[in-house]
């Protein structure tokens, strides 16, 4: 005997409505996302893989890609540690102004990244007091140099780790820590063996998200970095330069590499988040 499951009954929609809805979503995704992606990949591979490889390994392009990756990597390490710390402080401690600080965390998402660049120039520029001091006393230049890029990326990606770690930390069963206390564990042991393990996966997702976000950053970097080829020009800025000098193949080739990196990172994040969800069941 055939019986209908209640789910079908409750979720019933006319076949037309169901198909229509799905159709609209797919068309939208195609026009907005897939076609441009396809076009740029096709454009980058216009002269085959060797042509793409040639464009990417041009010294200036190669240096821009490498700079982009290592600044993003350093930023990711710092951001993961400090973001986790911030989330921990926001969840576990009470201090004056906590609510305000909690909403400030998301601010970098809303501030135009150009403004972020300007802020850093105003703070650390060679003509400014702090910038001059660092330069004279320690020989460190921040603006128009890789440290400026890292600084800008740190600012822009600040929310990612905080906002992936925070909910997990909030959900964490404090009784486990109390149990560890009664069993004789000190606070460092408790952090290392009880609190930290469930945070590892969200920390990695947050780190990958901020890394992916960082490699494409343009607005803040273009102001802060100074765009000195072979020294402080990142991939995104390089692409702009190539577009302006009408080397479309160069622009597309580097773009394709950036897309490939971003795409694999996103796949990884997705996989990690699925694992995390399964784990918490």
């Amino acid at each position: 005997m055939k019986t209908k499951t209640p789910k079908q009954e409750i979720g019933y929609q006319s076949p037309l409505g169901r198909r229509g809805l799905r159709g609209v979503a797919l068309v939208y995704l195609t026009v907005l996302l897939l076609i441009p992606l396809f076009v740029i990949i096709q454009d980058g591979l216009r002269e085959g893989l060797t042509g793409l490889w040639h464009q990417v390994t041009l010294p200036i392009a190669w240096s821009a890609l490498i700079l982009t990756l290592w600044t993003a990597a350093i930023m990711t390490i710092i951001n993961t540690m400090m973001g986790t710390l911030t989330a921990y402080a926001l969840v576990r401690y009470d201090f004056p102004g906590k609510t305000i600080i909690n909403s400030l965390v998301d601010l970098p998402l809303a501030i135009p990244t150009l403004v972020t660049g300007v802020m850093l120039v105003v703070l650390f520029g060679p003509q400014q007091a702090l910038g001059a001091l660092l330069k004279e006393q320690f020989g460190i230049s921040i603006i128009f140099a890789p440290p400026g890029i890292i600084m800008a990326l740190l600012f822009i990606t600040f929310p990612f780790v905080v906002r992936t770690v925070q909910p997990v930390l909030l959900d964490l069963d404090r009784a486990q820590e109390a149990a560890a206390t009664t069993l004789g564990a000190g606070s460092w042991t408790i952090f290392r063996r009880i609190t930290l393990p469930p945070l590892i996966l969200p920390m990695i997702s947050g780190a990958l998200l901020s890394f992916a976000r960082a490699i494409g950053e343009f607005g803040a970097v273009v102001i802060v970095a100074g765009n000195i080829p072979l020294y402080s020009q990142t991939a995104a800025v390089y692409v702009l330069g190539e577009v302006e000098s009408e080397n479309r193949l160069g622009a597309s080739a580097v773009s394709v590499v950036m897309i490939a990196i971003a795409f694999s990172l996103m796949m990884l994040v997705d996989w990690l988040q699925q694992r995390e969800r399964k784990g918490s069941l």
Partner: protein
Amino acid sequence: MSIVLEQLTKRYDGHPVVNNVSLEVGDGEFFVLLGSSGSGKTTILSLIAGLVPADQGRILLHDREVTFLAPQQRKVGFVFQNYALFQSMTVADNVEFGLSIRKVPAAERRKRRDELLELVGLAGLGNRRPRQLSGGQQQRVALARALAYQPDVLLLDEPLGALDAKIRGELRRNLKNIQRQLGIATIFVTHDQEEAFDLADRIGVMSFGRLVEVGTPDELYQRPQTEFVASFLGTANLLVGDLTSEGVKVGKWYFPISHDCQQLSQDGRAQVLFRPEDVALAPEAAIMDSPKLGEAVVEEVSFGGAHERLRLRLPAISGVRSISPPVAFGSNSILVDATRSPEQAARFPLQQGDKTWVGVHRIHVLAHPGLSFLILSDGSLRSQAALNLGGQMARLAHARVTLIGWGAQGEALQSHLQEARRQLGSGLAALEVLTSEKEPAQAVRQAVERQQHDLVVLGFNHQEDMRLAEQLREAGDHHLLLVPRPQATPSKALICILSGEPGKDDVLFAGRLIRHLSADATLLSVLTPSSARQDSRARAERFLEGGVRSLSLLGVPAQTAIRSGTVPEEIQSEARDGSFDLLVLGAPLVRSGGGISLNGVAGQTLGLLPDIATMIVRSHYMAPG
């Protein structure tokens, strides 16, 4: 002694969740803390384990004071309500955790872990993750983990609460066996009576942060000391009868009382308890071999598995008042709960509406709690009046008195209290004198935290002390007597019932006090023009009649009066016309989130009658709006 708690107190936001608790748990004893949720039982465990610091008191484990030790150093095994297993570790790592912290060598750790998993019946499951186990298995892992490092004492916080009934019974037996084998002193927290009776060597019953009574399951069930425990455990039939030299008189029967109850009551009344299984039923009086309460009508019959349960209604018995099961306001009949075995039921079948003779095999006399007064005095003229009247009433009611002196400084205060002590001195059940440099409301709050008082007495000026009166009402669950000027012991009390208030409890308290004063009472209800319809008058009459019957059961002669008009004015004219010298008013309960306000009818009435002692009884009705 394995666990000793001395006057332990813990407050959250100034509110005591554990209130002056003292307890001793012997070596190898299985002690159960029983109480409803929010009674402070879990907090006691947290205090012992050191997870929260105590505000006052001491904790000793195996004669070692641990009050100020870190939880890591207390050697306490704790099983949490939700088990709190380490989700990121295997079962084996969970169990070994306490040992690995103590740097026990790996081989020994494994041996001990396997022993414990064997002990709790989970051998071979060491490689699982906690979330791969059933609730019952998780509970056993939590137990094994707590026991692994051989703690001095074991604390269990509702460990079986989240499991279904069948598994619970099985785990209960396991738990008891394991505890016996190891001989470890254990405190087990639960709200489940059956669990408590099944497991405990001794039970401690908790209510509102206090440890009300401690005893073996049998003692607490058969011979409780307090009304609270008698009605909290199982089903209780509780009556108030007269205490005589031959025993407690219930109706025409005298029930012998054990020698230790002789000095229970100073007011000649005693509460008696009998359980449903102590009730005997017979078709005729002649064949009843136990003392008879009378002939009752069967109100309800139901089957509770092994037993038949009956609820019976007895006609009023002179001089006897029923506490439990509760009867409707104004009714003076007595309800009795009874159980019978199937054989008894078969021999004498009963149905709803049938008549049966009711007797009792056995009764137990409770310590009838006497009244307790708190009098505030700052040496002023009106507090002198409060001292006089409060003291006089306390003497008549055999009440214990606590006197709080405040306001004045040093010598002046001392000499004033000296004088007060001399004045109050004789004829009191007990007198305790405290001085406080705090605000009076705060001092009262502190005093009632320590011990519940029935009545707080305050010298009162309606223009100056209204706010203080409100604060004192808010400070605890007591009634308030406001004394504006010196006066003789009241002989005529006017109990004002404002739209259903005071409720039954309040009329009963006022009645209890008024009986001690040998005063007469009048119950007054004022119908406002908006409510002065025919049916509301009839309803008010019925309500007042019920109140009169309740008062006459207490031995207070009472009359009724109904007026219509504005409430405070009508109360004023009734009080003046009848020359009453004690006014009883109801005050609404504390509203959630807000304080008590006496601005309404109560406040206006206080203003209109500035020279009569007024008792504000707490009402169990919520303020409207």
